[in-house]
């Protein structure tokens, strides 16, 4: 596996097919202009219904998904597409980094979550990583996940293997939250980058499959809902 944070290497790979979903035309134009060099933007949509139709036709590798849109937002697109098109990867791209938005999108099936202040290079790297099957965790997202799992250490869970993070996964998340890149984490923990990616993917899987009851409790505790 190539080091996906490195853009110079990534540029030699086949161009990824990317679809943009955002209700702000200005923002779509900006992203298209910035990404056009590195990836192929195969389509864009400004509404949930349009997105569902066009994604099913164009079948992109990665969908960049806005969180807040009329008619249900990115969540609605994810709910509609995930079962019918499991091969398409979704990367949430939002101006909001509120915990409930981030965790909600990840639980719905997005493979990563980045905010709109991200630099074009970082965005390209994130798209490539998502397309390769990895998760993209921003430091803030790692912090939310730690918060969600660590806040109640004594609560008994129905399926501990599913709902609890292992110590190693927790360590990886902590380093992510501290601003470390995957390769820096690998160096710090004396493991391979591949192992780091596995840990992160496991976290993502647990996050998606943890039961709804706990999430709602977590959100209610923080008065998020």
């Amino acid at each position: 596996m190539t080091e996906s944070t490195d853009i110079a290497e990534g540029a030699e790979q086949p161009r990824l097919r990317v679809f943009l979903v955002d209700d702000h035309a200005m923002f779509r134009a900006g992203v298209r202009a910035e990404l056009g060099v590195h990836v192929e933007v195969v389509g864009e949509a400004s509404t949930v219904a349009e997105a569902i139709n066009r994604i099913a036709v164009t079948l992109p590798d990665v969908v960049l998904l806005d969180v807040h849109m009329p008619d249900g937002g990115g969540r609605a697109v994810l709910d509609a597409m995930r079962r019918t098109h499991p091969a398409i990867r979704f990367l949430a791209l939002s101006v909001s980094d509120a915990a409930e938005d981030v965790i909600g999108l990840i639980r719905a099936g997005a493979r990563g979550y980045v905010t709109k202040t991200i630099s074009p290079d970082e965005l390209t790297a994130a798209i490539r990583r998502v397309a390769d099957g990895d998760a993209v965790f921003s430091p803030r997202l790692a912090g939310f996940v730690l918060d969600a799992f660590a806040a109640r250490p004594d609560v008994p869970v129905a399926d501990p293997e599913l709902d609890q993070l292992t110590n190693r996964e927790r360590e990886v998340l902590r380093l992510l939250a501290r601003g470390y890149a995957y390769k820096e984490i690998a160096k710090e923990l004396f493991i391979s980058i591949k192992t780091v990616e596995t840990h992160v993917s496991n976290v993502l899987r647990k996050l998606q499959m943890s039961n709804r009851y706990e999430l709602s409790r977590w959100a209610a505790d923080r008065r998020l809902v």
Binding site: D97, P139, R140, D147, A151, R174, A177, R178, G179
Partner: protein, 413 residues
């Protein structure tokens, strides 16, 4: 017996309330159906003429051709007001043509209440009724006032009517010539029962008034929130945008302004609580914000967990702030990561940059930034500071502060 009085007069079953007679007549004559219905009800007063007329029309007027299908369900709810009015009119008729005297007074009372209740009912529209019942605070109250549910409605109507009737009969009994003390007491009780009946009948109207007041108040609150938002946008966002336009050439200034504005909007939207003097997370975020504003860098802040501050936590925040300032001054980077975690036994803070870095062993003794403000301060308060750095590979300052329950004890850590 199907000879029509007038070939073009049909019963309009689509708008029927009983058999569509009134609706048919109103369509034929071009007058509002309500007038026809009221006329029938009033004619009821003339020895039941209205009822006879209606029956006659029903018998001889055919249903409009083409309306052979299943007619729509009757809206019994709509029928009720007319039943009430009819009852009142019948009682009035009884009073006018029948006996007079004490029982006459009671009869008038019944008649007026019945007519009034019917009119009120008729004027309260179904939408409003639904609105009331949806906003009902207590379920049983909703059941009493609920008018879309036919059973509850009938129950309420019969109950209210009965109470009124019993109350009136009681008053009549009190005024009768054979009155004695018991009768007076009974009369009072009956009068109260009567009042309760009126109350049940009048409840929807009272509720409507109450509800309207509430809606008005809610509207005012919404308006206030909107005004507050508008004021915030005006004071902060518009001014920031104006400043950005005037400083468009100065990238650093524009970035600083945009970042500050983004932060303030975010905290306004997502973080309504937390005072920097009381909570650790808020204090740390405030320190990061100050550094962002002063040095025009961005601090990526992640805080997991939160707790109250004490003097040790305050020292930790101050040390973290110093580490941020150092990173902003010397690392020559745009972004610094700040991560803090509150665990049951300790609070840890990590400040990391990917900048120039330095060799910690060569830091001179007189450099107070690192030795005094970070390491020394942490030591004095029972904490620990580690600095990891190498030239070219960035710097990470790690701060650990153990938590103990009573902060005033002299125990050393």
């Amino acid at each position: 017996m199907s000879t029509a009085i007038e070939p073009r007069l049909y019963r309009a079953r689509h708008h029927r309330m009983v058999a569509g007679v009134a609706a048919g007549i109103s369509e034929h004559l071009g007058i509002p159906v309500i007038r026809v219905r009221v006329a029938f009800v009033v004619l009821l007063g003339l020895s039941g003429l209205g009822l006879l007329l209606y029956a006659a029309f029903w018998a001889v007027v055919p249903v409009r051709p083409g309306e052979t299908g299943e007619p729509p369900r009757r809206d019994l709810l709509q029928l009720m007001p007319f039943v009430a009015i009819g009852l009142g009119v019948l009682v009035i008729q009884l009073m006018v043509f029948g006996r007079t005297g004490v029982t006459g007074t009671a009869g008038w009372l019944v008649a007026i209440i019945a007519v009034g209740a019917g009119v009120i009912w008729h004027q309260s529209t179904p939408e409003r009724r639904r609105q009331w019942s949806e906003t009902m605070p207590v379920p049983w109250l909703g059941a009493v006032l609920e008018e879309s549910d036919r059973r509850a409605f009938v129950l309420r109507f019969i109950g209210g009517g009965l109470l009124v009737a019993v109350g009136v009969v009681g008053v009549a009994a009190v005024y009768s010539p054979q009155a004695d003390f018991d009768a007076v007491a009974n009369g009072v009780i009956f009068a109260l029962v009567g009042l309760a009946g009126v109350g049940v009948v009048a409840a929807p109207v009272l509720w409507r008034m109450f509800n309207q007041l509430r809606t008005e108040r809610e509207g005012r609150i919404r308006e206030q929130e909107r005004a507050e938002l508008a004021a915030m946008v005006h004071d902060q966002v518009l001014h920031t945008l104006a400043l950005i336009q005037r400083n468009a050439a100065d990238v650093k200034t524009v970035q600083r302004l945009a970042r500050g504005q983004e932060r303030s909007l975010r905290s306004w939207l997502y973080k309504p609580t937390g005072s920097p003097t009381e909570r650790f997370a808020a204090a740390l975020e405030q320190a990061a914000a100050e550094v962002e504003d002063t040095f025009a860098i961005s601090v990526e802040t992640v805080v997991v967990g939160d707790r109250e501050t004490d003097e040790r936590i305050a020292a930790l925040v101050a040390a973290a702030r110093e580490a941020l300032v150092n990173a902003a001054r010397h690392a020559k980077v745009e972004t610094v990561s700040l991560y803090a975690e509150v665990e049951p036994e300790q609070v840890s803070v990590f400040v990391r940059d990917r900048g120039a870095g330095f060799d910690p062993t060569t830091v001179e003794d007189h450099r107070h930034g690192v030795r005094g403000s970070i390491i020394g301060r942490m030591d004095r308060h029972g904490g620990r500071a580690e600095i990891r750095s190498s030239p070219g590979d960035g710097t990470e300052v790690r701060l650990f502060m153990p938590i103990r329950e009573s902060t005033g004890s002299g125990r050393e850590w």
